[in-house]
């Protein structure tokens, strides 16, 4: 037996889900505010402080800590050895946690109501920027852990194939290092000195460009673990095998290379970048849909195999034959369903000139809640249910409640996000707390505004059940034994794979060149352009 570092994994996961729960409550406050049913609650100060905190907690805290915790469990149990440096894992945790607390204080006291995208020249208290940077630095230490775990394992196991789950986790770590560089540069060279008064002005165009470097690929940083679970946990829990290990690797490689150099689709409507580079990024953006489409096939094929093994007949009989009592199966199917809906929305956003119609409308809010809060987070919840018994040594308090909670999550998410998509098409701006426009559109929007609160209430209830389940599990009956080998096996487990699919040297090389073209050149152009900077502004 070897040290699986379960306590550091559990610590990270608890911070993730505590943040998740606080953020959900804030989300409910926001939809209550928007519904118009609670005029006494309405307050712009509270609303925007809430949106900012909600966004940071969901987008930066829940995700980063979950990914770190899941990563530690994956690294130890797939490679069957202790972490490269357990002490460092705790350091990473503490650095990230202190950063989180440091950023939370100004957020919760209304001193950082600049949303989770923190675009200047709106300026927050410097503690917010410094705290957020520390959170990212903590995650870098985790990246180092993951990469070193694989490097040392390969050194000790020459010629062997890196287990798929670890290959994916390492791809994610490398991708995160690549993409977080953008926001790190923005923080270290712009936001922190500027908020401390060391720089008088800031170029918002450069800041947005640097943030876009991180902004797209960060959603793939979040999505990677969901895909890893779909490839390497779901097939086994469904009672089958993974349809193709190699295609999994192909998907992970494509995600690594294609996620990062495409951030300009967040800047389509911006005046600081030219059409040529926006077009280049558009090509890559459509490219990154490919690994998702491939994943859809491989995962569905794996599930179909499992369903037919259980006796499912006919074109769709395998669906009903699946084990719908297993939380991972439920989450996987619901995640794929939401991925299809949200993914098509994403194609519209990616569409260069068509983006005009949806940019910065409520459509965008609908899209990312569906794809992130829906597809990605539902898989996080399922992974939590899967890992809890392994990490605590006790049975999950209630599988039935878990399954029910997951269905509620999907239903709540559809109720919440579908009206948002419609509102966006009807022209409603995003990031508003009310709709005081003298326009006939407002009446058209009203019924959809009301729908928000229904979705929010369902999601709060669902989140409550989730956290309750995890809490109760800590006091549940101890298990006699716990398996740390519940990783899926491929139909054809590869005896060997090409070097390019067992490592990342080639892909890092390609990405380096692509990044120099896609981001290096535009950033240098901006530095030469040297736009007159902006003074700090409050809100």
């Amino acid at each position: 037996m070897y040290d699986k570092s379960k306590s550091v994994a559990l610590a990270n996961l608890w911070v993730a889900f505590a943040a998740f729960f606080v953020a959900i409550i804030l989300g409910l406050y926001q939809v209550m505010n928007r519904s118009g049913l609670f005029p006494e609650l309405e307050s712009h100060e509270l609303y925007f402080a809430s949106v900012s905190t909600h966004g940071v907690l969901m987008g930066f805290v829940l995700t980063t800590f979950f990914i770190m915790g899941f990563g530690y469990y994956t690294a130890t149990t797939t490679l069957k050895r202790p972490l490269w440096n357990k002490g460092l894992a705790w350091v990473a945790f503490l650095v990230a946690l202190s950063g989180t607390v440091m950023a939370a204080i100004p957020l919760l006291t209304g001193k950082a109501s600049i949303l989770y995208t923190f675009y200047p020249p709106l300026m927050a208290h410097p503690m917010f920027y410094i705290g957020a940077t520390l959170l990212v630095v903590g995650s870098w230490i985790w990246c180092l852990e993951m990469i070193m775990s694989v490097i040392t394992w390969r050194r000790d196991n020459p010629g062997k194939v890196v287990p798929l789950a670890m290959y994916g986790t390492t791809a994610n770590a490398i991708m995160w290092l690549w993409t977080s560089a953008g926001v790190a540069i923005e923080m270290l060279f712009q936001l922190i000195p500027w908020s401390l008064g060391l720089m008088d002005t800031i170029d918002p165009g450069l800041a947005r460009t640097l943030f876009s470097w991180t902004l797209h690929a960060i959603v793939y940083f979040w999505l990677f673990p969901a895909y890893i679970a779909m490839y390497t946990i779901l097939p086994k829990m469904a009672g089958g095998r993974l349809f193709s290990d190699e295609m999994g690797r192909v998907a992970f490689i494509m995600l690594l290379v294609l996620s990062v150099p495409i951030g300009f689709h967040h800047l389509y409507m911006d005046p600081q970048q030219s059409a040529g580079f926006k077009f280049l990024h558009m090509l890559g953006t459509f490219g990154v849909a490919i690994p998702t489409l491939l994943t859809g096939f491989t995962v569905l094929a794996s599930l179909e195999g499992a369903g037919r093994l259980r006796g499912g007949q006919g074109l769709f009989g395998w669906i009903t034959a699946l084990n719908w009592k297993e939380p991972m199966v439920v989450a996987g199917m619901l995640a794929l369903f939401m991925l299809i809906a949200g993914g098509w929305g994403g194609m519209i956003n990616a569409s260069y000139s068509m983006n005009t119609l949806v940019h910065n409308t409520q459509w965008v809010t609908g899209h990312f809640h569906l794809i992130f809060a829906g597809t990605t987070v539902i898989m996080y919840l399922a992974v939590a249910y899967h890992l809890w018994p392994k990490l605590t040594g006790r049975r999950l308090a209630s599988r039935g409640m878990a399954v029910f909670q997951l269905w509620l999550w999907m239903i709540g998410m559809m109720v919440l996000t579908m009206p948002w998509h419609v509102l966006g098409l009807l022209g409603q701006p995003r990031r508003i707390s009310s709709t005081p426009y003298d326009s006939p559109l407002v009446q058209q929007w009203d019924p959809h505004e009301l729908a928000m609160i229904v979705g929010g209430a369902i999601l709060l209830f669902s989140a409550l059940l989730f956290v309750l389940n995890l809490l109760l599990s800590h006091a549940a009956r101890k298990l006699d034994s716990v398996s740390d080998d519940d990783w899926a096996i491929a139909v054809y487990p590869p005896m060997s794979v090409p070097k390019s699919m067992n490592g990342f040297v080639l892909w890092n090389g390609i990405l380096t060149v692509w990044m120099i073209v896609a981001y290096g050149i535009p950033i240098v152009q901006l530095l030469i352009l040297d736009a007159p900077g902006s003074m700090p502004w409050g809100y």
Binding site: H44, E45, D200, T201, P436, Y437, D438, M535, P536, W537, G538
Partner: protein, 241 residues
């Protein structure tokens, strides 16, 4: 040198711009102007406000010590006002962008640094209590104007720029809580009648023209009372530095 720089740039660029008149105010928040205001020495400002010459009154004669006790309430209280705003008004008086004979003369011979010093001095003062007739009522509709504006007339809420507590905001949005009722009303009348024109892009003029006389009267009472509620001797300086 900063003044000359601004005016020179304006004069040089103006012929190259398309047909246009003079800007409503020559004050622009460049790094230099901002720095000038931030470095304003309040202790110097304290001395300047009492200086009287044979042509010009001391500031205290009309505005009271620390700008807290104007002799008539159609003179504004200056105590606790956002420094950048005070500086801009003084500068505008000096440039003639804002017209008032007494004020134009009062600041004629002051340098930018002295104006900044005065602004810093006043900013440090606590907002004083102002006189408000107890019988004056503020209707619910007026309070709604403060926090929700009026979409039919495209009037934004006062609070959205001036702050929830009327305390002003970065960069030069003035504090309006605790201002004299009569001065508040006169100012809005001046904006509405285009007698005061130093608000850039006419943003206050547009709003003042859209408000009714009754609304302006009630808003004046609302903000005077708001200042009284908040003034507890502590500094009311807004977030601007």
């Amino acid at each position: 040198m900063n003044t000359y720089k601004i005016i020179t740039i304006a004069c040089v660029l103006m012929p190259f711009g398309l047909a246009q008149g003079a800007p409503s105010s020559n004050v622009a928040w460049t790094v230099e102007t901002h720095s000038l205001v931030r470095k304003g020495d309040a202790s110097i400002g304290a001395k300047i406000e009492t200086v009287e010459t044979e042509d010009v009154n001391a500031c205290t004669d009309c505005h009271g010590k620390g700008g807290a006790e104007p002799d008539r309430d159609k003179h504004p209280t200056l105590a606790g006002q956002v420094a950048a705003y005070t500086f801009k008004q003084l500068r505008d008086y000096k440039d003639g962008s804002r017209e008032n004979r007494r004020m134009n003369e009062a600041v004629e011979r002051l340098t930018n640094e002295q104006l900044a010093a005065l602004a810093a001095w006043y900013a440090q003062q606590p907002v004083p209590s102002v006189e408000v007739d107890a019988d004056e009522t503020v209707s619910e509709e007026t309070v709604r104007l403060v926090f929700r504006g009026d979409k039919k007339r495209l009037i934004q809420p006062c609070a959205s720029c001036h702050g929830r507590n009327g305390q002003g905001a970065i960069i030069d949005v003035p504090a309006i809580a605790g201002q004299n009722v009569k001065y508040f009303v006169e100012t809005m009348k001046d904006y509405a009648g285009e007698k005061r024109t130093n608000d850039i892009y006419s943003r206050m003029r547009i709003i003042a023209k859209a408000l009714t006389r009754d609304e302006i009267n009630e808003l004046a009472v609302y903000y005077a009372r708001l200042g009284n509620e908040q003034s507890d001797g502590s500094t009311q300086q807004a977030a601007a530095q």
